[in-house]
């Protein structure tokens, strides 16, 4: 069986109908466990105090903000190369999710930064590249809405997605490229010395899993909606022709 079978809208609808409830329930379970564990049952950090609890929303949201764009990049490339409509619609479906994840990362980061850095915002490489990523999400969504022909919209948004990928990567590696600014390096690391302590790490893993599963569930659900919208447009256009 080939992966490309799922590019068939009918096959995608059948498969996603089966998978969607599992992803939704698992996402809810992981998020509730991770957030409740992190919020109620972890102690304060010796330097950051209780603000360390913001990590359970900030880090998973920031990770998904970047990963959503990477997913859009892959599906956009599939559209440009193989012209599979489902992949273009999946990219379109993922954009508002990525936008919300970026917004959560920016808001929770600002609220966390104020007591720790003494400022809500600073033009630091990571913060600035995240703001630009947020603007790219807005532009991407606006472009889909502005172009009437869906295939042309998919072409143009795919190109925009390729360009925006530079900023998605910068958002991830900005701290490493420019070793300056207020934002710290990655919280998660394979090196035990630099990785966050297990007390924070385990609930954080649940939250990250919850955000990933929620993203997958929402992409499946929203892609199903986009496929149905496309079908409605096709029927209406056919009726108009007589």
């Amino acid at each position: 069986m080939s992966l490309w079978e799922y590019a068939n809208p009918k096959k995608f609808m059948q498969t996603s109908q089966v998978l969607l409830p599992y992803f939704a329930v698992l996402a809810a379970v992981c998020l509730v466990v991770g957030l409740v564990w992190g919020f109620f049952f972890t102690t304060d950090d010796y330097r950051q105090g209780a603000t360390v609890k913001i990590i359970y929303l900030h880090v998973p949201a920031a990770m998904m903000a970047i990963n959503a764009w990477v997913m859009m990049l892959i599906t956009s490339l599939v559209w440009l190369v193989r012209r599979h409509h489902v992949s273009a619609l999946a990219a379109k479906a993922a954009a508002p999710i990525g936008l919300v994840m970026t917004l959560i990362a920016l808001i929770t980061g600002a609220v966390w930064g104020q007591p720790m850095w003494g400022t809500w915002w600073v033009w630091d490489p990571r913060l600035t590249s995240f703001l630009i990523l947020f603007l790219f999400y807005l532009g991407y969504i606006a472009l889909w809405e502005a172009v009437e022909n869906p295939d042309t919209a998919a072409d143009l948004t795919s190109i925009l997605c390729l360009v925006g990928s530079v900023f998605a990567l910068l958002s991830r590696y900005a701290v490493n490229f420019w070793n300056q600014g207020l934002h710290q390096g990655a919280s998660l690391s394979l090196d035990e010395e630099t990785n966050v302590h297990n007390e924070y790490y385990l609930p954080l893993l649940f939250c990250i899993a919850g955000f990933v599963l929620l993203f997958v569930a929402l992409v499946l659900q929203r892609t199903r909606t986009e496929i149905r919208s496309r079908r409605i447009q096709a029927i209406v256009a056919r009726e108009r022709l007589g």
């Binding site: 603000t51 808001i107 609220v111 929402l218 199903r224």
Partner: protein
């Protein structure tokens, strides 16, 4: 409720905003999905009646 000390406002604001945005995203995706599914069903029923 854990003792959040002097950072209670910041932590509550971060959790409030983050969870509100997540809930809004889920609700809006779900309600749009339901609306579009109903529209398509009605459209296909109408087409089936016409033959």
């Amino acid at each position: 409720m854990p003792d959040l000390g002097k950072y209670a406002l910041e932590i509550s604001a971060a959790y409030g905003a983050g969870i509100l945005l997540l809930v809004l995203l889920v609700l809006l995706s779900w309600t749009k999905g339901r609306r579009v599914r109903r529209q398509l069903r009605e459209l296909e029923k109408r087409r089936a009646k016409r033959g």
